[in-house]
C-alpha cells in the first residue's frame, strides 16, 4: 500500500471501501488492527467495518444467485430465518478463493456453498442444521440431475449363488437429515410460513437416478442407508457383512435386504470381478 497516501477525499474513501469488499482478509485485518486504517489516512472510527462486512455478505449473496435455480427451498429458508447476510458474509472469503480457482459454474457454486454449510452449521443449532439439511437435500437432487448419464456394467436382477456381488444400478446418494424435506417444503412454501410447524427428527433418504435417468427419492431405514453405502460393485456380501458387522456370519441375513433393493431397482447383481465365491 505504498501509494495509498496519494489518494485523498472521496477517492481514498472509495478505495478503502472497495478494497475491504474485494478482499475479506483485508477487512478482517482492519477489524483486528484498526491502526492499519489510520496508516493510510482513514480515521478507523469513521469506517463501519461491521456494516461493510455485512455488505460483502449481500454482494456474495447476489453473486450466488445462479444457485437459486437448484436451491429454491434453501434460499427461501435463508430469507425466512434472516440468515442470508450472515451466511454469505461468513462464506465470502472461501467463495473468493474458489472463484480465483475458476470454480464458477452454477453447479460448482452449489457444491462450494453446500460444502461450506456442512462446516458452518452446528448440529446443536436448530436453525443452522435445518438450513444445512434442506441444502443437503437440494444439493443431492442437483448432483443427480446434473450428472452425466451413468454407464454401468450389465446387472442381473437375479443373484447367481456364490458368484455374484451387488452393485449400484444407476447413481445413488444417501443423506441423513434432521427434517423431512417434503414436509419442510410444504411449510416453507406457504405464503406466511410458520417455521415451528417443521417436524424435526432423523430421517435417511436415498436419492437414486437409474440408468434410464429417472430420479427418485426414497425414505429408508438407517441400516439400509449403511448397506447401500457399503456397496461398491467389488465387495461380496461376505465382505460387506464383515465391513458392517465385523464378521461374515450375518451375510445370510443381509441377502433378503439386498434382494429387496434389487427389486426396487437400486441394486443389481453381477459376476464377482475377482471370481471369488460369495453370498
Amino acid at each position: 500500500m505504498t501509494g495509498a497516501r496519494s489518494l485523498s477525499g472521496g477517492a481514498l474513501a472509495h478505495a478503502v471501501v472497495a478494497a475491504g469488499l474485494a478482499d475479506p482478509d483485508l477487512l478482517r485485518a482492519w477489524t483486528e488492527e484498526p491502526t492499519r486504517l489510520a496508516a493510510i489516512g482513514i480515521d478507523p472510527a469513521a469506517v463501519d467495518l461491521d456494516s461493510l462486512a455485512n455488505f460483502a455478505g449481500l454482494a456474495e449473496k447476489v453473486r450466488q444467485n445462479p444457485c437459486r435455480l437448484y436451491l429454491p427451498l434453501t434460499f427461501r429458508l435463508l430469507g425466512l430465518t434472516g440468515l442470508e447476510i450472515k451466511l454469505f458474509r461468513d462464506y465470502a472469503p472461501e467463495s473468493q478463493r474458489r472463484r480465483q480457482l475458476g470454480l464458477n459454474s452454477p453447479m460448482e457454486r452449489v457444491d462450494g456453498l453446500a460444502n461450506f454449510v456442512e462446516r458452518w452449521a452446528m448440529d446443536d443449532d436448530a436453525v443452522g442444521s435445518l438450513i444445512r439439511d434442506v441444502l443437503r437435500h437440494e444439493h443431492a437432487l442437483a448432483l443427480l440431475s446434473m450428472a452425466s448419464p451413468v454407464l454401468v456394467p450389465e446387472r442381473r436382477a437375479v443373484r447367481l449363488d456364490g458368484r455374484s456381488v451387488p452393485g449400484h444400478a444407476g447413481r445413488t446418494l444417501v443423506r441423513t437429515l434432521s427434517c423431512d424435506p417434503e414436509q419442510t417444503g410444504a411449510v416453507i412454501r406457504q405464503r406466511v410460513p410458520d417455521l415451528s410447524n417443521i417436524e424435526r427428527g432423523r430421517w435417511t433418504f436415498v436419492y437414486h437416478r437409474d440408468t434410464g435417468d429417472r430420479l427418485q427419492v426414497l425414505e429408508v431405514e438407517p441400516g439400509v442407508g449403511h448397506l447401500l453405502l457399503a456397496v461398491d460393485g467389488q465387495a461380496s456380501v461376505d465382505d460387506i457383512a464383515i465391513r458392517l458387522f465385523g464378521h461374515r456370519a450375518t451375510a445370510g441375513s443381509l441377502l433378503p435386504a439386498f434382494d429387496q433393493l434389487v427389486e426396487l431397482g437400486l441394486l443389481g447383481w453381477r459376476a464377482d470381478p475377482r471370481g471369488a465365491s460369495c453370498g
Binding site: G3, G10, A11, H14, L21, V62, I85
Partner: protein, 264 residues
Amino acid sequence: MVGGDADGVGAVVGVEFGDGGGDAVADGAFGQVQVLRDLVDAGAGGGGGGGGAQHFAFGRGQWGWAGAAGGGCQSGVDDVAFILADSLDHNGTADPIELTYTICPQLSPDTIERVDENLRRLRGRFSVPIILENSPQYFSVPGSTMSMPQFVAQVAQSCDVDLLLDVTHFLITTSNMELDPMESLHTLPLERVVEIHFSGMSMQSGRWWDDHSAPAPDTAFDLLEIAKSRIRAKAVTFEYNWASSMPETVVIEQITRARELLAR
C-alpha cells in the same frame, strides 16, 4: 424487462427477470445493455485519465432500459453509486478495483463533481436522456457531508438531470440511516422523477437490505401514494430478477396496484 402498455396511466410497467447473478448484466434487454456496458467501460474504466484519482463509474451490472410504447420514455439509467475505485496500492499503474455490486458513494461535493463529469461524458455518447437512480444506503462512507436525499437533490440541480426513484432504495436508506421518511421525501426533487422502481427489502443482521427476490412491501406503495402528485412517472419497473421465479399472482397484483395508484 417485460414492458406493459401504458393504458392511459402514462407509464410503462415493467418486470425485470433474469439470473441477476451479480457477475452478469441483470436485465432483460441484453442487446442494448451490452452495447451500453462496453461504451461505459471504455469511458469510465480507463485507468484514471484526466487526473482521475477516483473512478466514479456508472455500474456495469445495473443498466436498465425502460422502453415505452409510443416513445414515452427511453433513457439510460444508473444508480448514483460506484463499482470501480482506485486500488489502495495505487501508484499510477495499478488497476482499479472492480466490484461486482454497486455501492453508495461518499455523499459529498467531491462526488457530485465526479457525477457531473461522468454524466457529461455519457451524454456525449448517447442520444437518449440519461437519468439517475438513488442507491440504497447501508452505512455512511467516510467523509460524507450530507444525507442521501440531500445528495440526490444536489446532483439533480448541479447536473440538470432527471431521476429514477427506487422507492425501496429510499425506504432502505431512510431506515438504515435513521432519517425521517417524510422530511427526506420532501427533500427529493420529486418533480424530476420520470421512472419508479420497486423491489423487496429484508431486515437481516440489524440492517435493511435490498432484496430482488421478494415482493415490494406495502410501505413502498404507501410512499408512492404520497409522492405521486409531484412526480411524472413514465415507467414503473418491478425488479424481481434475483429469484428463479416469482408467483405470477403477486406480480399481477402489484402491477395492477401500481397502475391504479398512478391513474388516480
